[in-house]
Symmetry: C2
Amino acid sequence: MAKKITGNNQYLKELNKATVLNLIRENKKLSRKELSDLTGLSPTACGSITRELIKDGFLHETGQGESTGGRKPVMLELKPNSYYAVGFDIGMSELKMVIADITANILLQRQFKYSPGIPAGKVIELIREKFFETIDSEKLSADKFIGCGLSIPGILDRKTNKIIIAPNLSWNEVDLGTGVSEVLGMPAFMENEAMCSAICEQWIGKCSSIENFICINIESGIGAGIYIGDAIYRGFSGSAGEIGHLIVKENGRLCGCGNRGCLETYASVRHMLSEINEKVQNGYSSDIIDPGMGALSWDQIVDAAYKGDELCIEVLKKGAEYIGFAVAYLINTLNPEAIVLGKCFTDYAPLVMDVLMATVNEKALKYPVSKVKILTSEFGMNSSALGAAMIPIRKIFGK
Amino acid sequence: MAKKITGNNQYLKELNKATVLNLIRENKKLSRKELSDLTGLSPTACGSITRELIKDGFLHETGQGESTGGRKPVMLELKPNSYYAVGFDIGMSELKMVIADITANILLQRQFKYSPGIPAGKVIELIREKFFETIDSEKLSADKFIGCGLSIPGILDRKTNKIIIAPNLSWNEVDLGTGVSEVLGMPAFMENEAMCSAICEQWIGKCSSIENFICINIESGIGAGIYIGDAIYRGFSGSAGEIGHLIVKENGRLCGCGNRGCLETYASVRHMLSEINEKVQNGYSSDIIDPGMGALSWDQIVDAAYKGDELCIEVLKKGAEYIGFAVAYLINTLNPEAIVLGKCFTDYAPLVMDVLMATVNEKALKYPVSKVKILTSEFGMNSSALGAAMIPIRKIFGK
């Protein structure tokens, strides 16, 4: 059926407000005259919109700009500390919290540990407790929060607003968003964790002016957040970006998905950890790794690799080579402007970037590889929590 | 820098015209009252727009619709045979031509053979000759042509309007569009051949109401045309869809790209042809294939497979299994609503679809695979020429 196209005034007004806010965000400061010129809106319409946005606390006047002949114009900018958003990243054994204001200034970041296997109800309770505890101690008013973003390590169904499956949390068919929204008293938006990282890169990171890019998160699993045409790409039913199951090795290691040789079984942190620890358990030792150390943590492995331990370096490099296969294929298939590698990858990127780049240059077609930027995220493990906090903020700008 | 948003009246008028044309195309017939209700435009504005569209020959009145109480309303529909578009598919040894009217009715399809290695200048000359010869004999006026679409088996640069590389034609840095536009006296639009197939499926095929889908063309190479959010997706520099170089076999066959084991080296028509002919040359024979037959053509191989020749069936099935790998990976990565397999694949689809589907179900994640439709194109080798002809037509509708 044909869609009805409405000439609804309220809708147009919201659109114009979002346009004004976006222009001010992009340009940092603008005068009313500049806004009128850039939007094509009449000075009267522009005056009315900015008046409302100032009254509602989204904009404020800030000193005078350069004169272009007459009086120096009053400049408008986004008002800091007027409204806030909170983002939570629900990890396997940790809740990350970020609070930011609408200018995307990060007020605080916190982490709270819990035991793996935590049920969704407990997470909702923890979110409630930590949120109110934090805003009390920071003297922030709950009324000033416009919403909450939730970064989820799993597949979401946007129609039912449920988490279909989150393997690392052992959750199926869970509606976290409604529960969180109720306890916090504000709208809550769920998003896949790799997509949250992509939102972070787009809003405050390296991809703010890039329309087509892919964020690849290396953690216990491997996933991607895809931006296409300056918009989040979730696919038909919300599961786009599941790149961890590219088969990189024929008859390779058994993967949780039931196949053999998936990218995750060589390049995810979980599998690299068990590969190294298995060898250490079977007697591997070096100047750096003593078998008496017991099972090594991820930090110890990264540390050992930087100190030159051959096994750790070899496993990290092998993983990076396989990530290179996936990156090459994404370049051929999607011809992105940038690929950002993030999360745990940022820990060891300097050790393996040469191997990864050599693989990409060998396996991808010359033309698209000559056009792509391959970057490492500057946000490390925090990109998803940061991106989650940006979700409600972006809504003000109509995104 | 900020973009200027214009309130340009001419632009709005064109937008409204495209909206009206799209609504009539989707609904086949609409009354002025229905158009006004659907667009939210005033009856006066709607009347003025339809009047212009009738005057210019895009719409006509066609009988009376159902009364909803008062007088039976006059219905409007797209006017057949008022304007035409021509599409050319530039193959390795054949030029395909399609002429259609703005209702997407196909008036004629023609093929013209040439020798592989033909230079671009000769192709332009052939296009000129065949186009004018055909419209003369069909008594079509050149004035009624709104444009020409060109389907190119290669990578295009949309900024310079040049073919960067078309390996099967041995063309580099060729500007075919300008040359064709000059000799035909109408705008010419170049597009990658797999993308042309996707345009065909979207405009007149199985994907008319599907926003995210991928067309995979199996020919001498393997390429994909990607639709995302109801729009063509070309990537950052125009080369998206080069899926033929997914590595499906470690240390496999040498590919033209320099790597080993690329999908194309097992599943493209060129490689399946040489594999079978090599074995026939080395003495393979069956009840169906006699070594005395010499080098087999593609048609003979497909024919032999349908008759039960084991070698031909085996090679086609192996190819389909590897295509299944690529399809599974595209499903995981892009979570499309549909994947359409086309060109030569349609010749042997009934023989291999079971193998392909079994592979896809095994290799893709359960959730996205449960959501996707895997289809075979109904247009066979003609999809790119048909899609090319649709390019200028779609422009009338603002696409």
